[in-house]
Symmetry: C2
Subunit: 160 residues, 2 copies
Amino acid sequence: MATDDLMGRVLDTFGEDGPLSVEAIHRLADLGDIADVMSIAEVADLLDVSAHTLRYYERAGLVEVERDASGHRVYDADAVRRLVFLTRMRLSGMPMRDLQHYIALVDGGEGTVPERLDMLVEHRDTIRRRIRELNLSLIATEYKIATYGGRTGPDVQGEG
Amino acid sequence: MATDDLMGRVLDTFGEDGPLSVEAIHRLADLGDIADVMSIAEVADLLDVSAHTLRYYERAGLVEVERDASGHRVYDADAVRRLVFLTRMRLSGMPMRDLQHYIALVDGGEGTVPERLDMLVEHRDTIRRRIRELNLSLIATEYKIATYGGRTGPDVQGEG
DNA sequence: GTTTGCGTTTGAGTGCGCTCGAACTTCTAC
DNA sequence: GTAGAAGTTCGAGCGCACTCAAACGCAAAC
C-alpha cells in the first residue's frame, strides 16, 4: 500500500519548486554527513531545533545522550537517528505524550512492535486528514485571492 | 493561477474517500442552510467550535454580534460568513494576531484590499509549505510502516 | 412556582511545547 | 592568565489558543 508509489510521491513532492526540496531531502534520507558523534550545537543545527529543545527532549525521556569527560553531551549516530525521527514526528504534529509512549515501547523490546505499528498507522492517518484539511483551506484561500475585488464574489467565501 | 485548475483540485480532494468529503464540502461552499439568524449553539455546531470559542473570538474583536431583547447573541448571515472564514483560517494555522490584523483591515475599508491580498497570498504560501512538509512526513511514516520488522530497514529511518 | 436548560459576564486557569535566566564550568585564542 | 564562546543544571516563565468557574438572568415545561 505504501511503498509501491513512493517514488512517484517523492518526485511529486520534490519536483514542485526549489528551496524546500534540498532541505527536505536531507531530512528524509540524509544521515550521510553525520560525523559519528556530534555536539549539541551540531545536532541542533542539523535538525533545525534549538539546543534548549534537545535538552528538553532528553529531560522528557525521549533520548539518552552520553557525556564526554567534561560533562558535555555527545550525540552518537543512534541518538541522532532517533532525534531525526522524533523531530519529524513532532513536525507532523505528533504530541510529546505520544512520542513518550512510543519511545517507551521501543525500550520495551520487540514484543511492542505491533503496538508501535498501530501508532504509526494512526499517525499516518492523522497526517493524511490534516493534509486534506489544508488542501481545502488552500483551495478556499486561492479562490478568495482569485475573486478578490470581484465585489465579494459568489458567497462561498467569508467576510473580507 | 488559481481558478483554472480549481475544479480538478476540488475533485482530487473530495474524491479520495468518504466521510470528510461531505463535511468538507459543507465547510467550503455551504451557507445554504443558514437560518438567517442563528443562536450561539447553532453557530458553534455549524462550525464545530465551542460556544466558548465564539465568545472568545468576539472578545478578540474578530466579529461583532447583535443581542436579542434578553441579551442573547444573535448571529446574522454576515457574522456567520465571517466566522466561516475565520475558522477556516484558524484551521489552516493562521495565528489570532494575523486574523485580528486582517479584520482591522476589513474594517478599514476598500483601501486596504491590497494589503489584505498580500496577507492571503502569504498565508496561501504558508499552507503550501505546510502541505509539503506534511507530505514528507507522510512518506517517511509510510516508509517506516512498510519496512517495519525488516530489521530496522535501510537507515533512512530513525529509531523504532 | 420551581426546576431545567440555555444563555450572559468577568476573570482566572489549563495544556502544550518550548524558552529563558541564573549561576556555574570548561575549552580556545590571544 | 584572561576574555569570550559554548557548554552544564535547575527551575521558572512565556505565548498561544482556548477553556472553565462562578454567579447570575430569562423562559418554557411540568
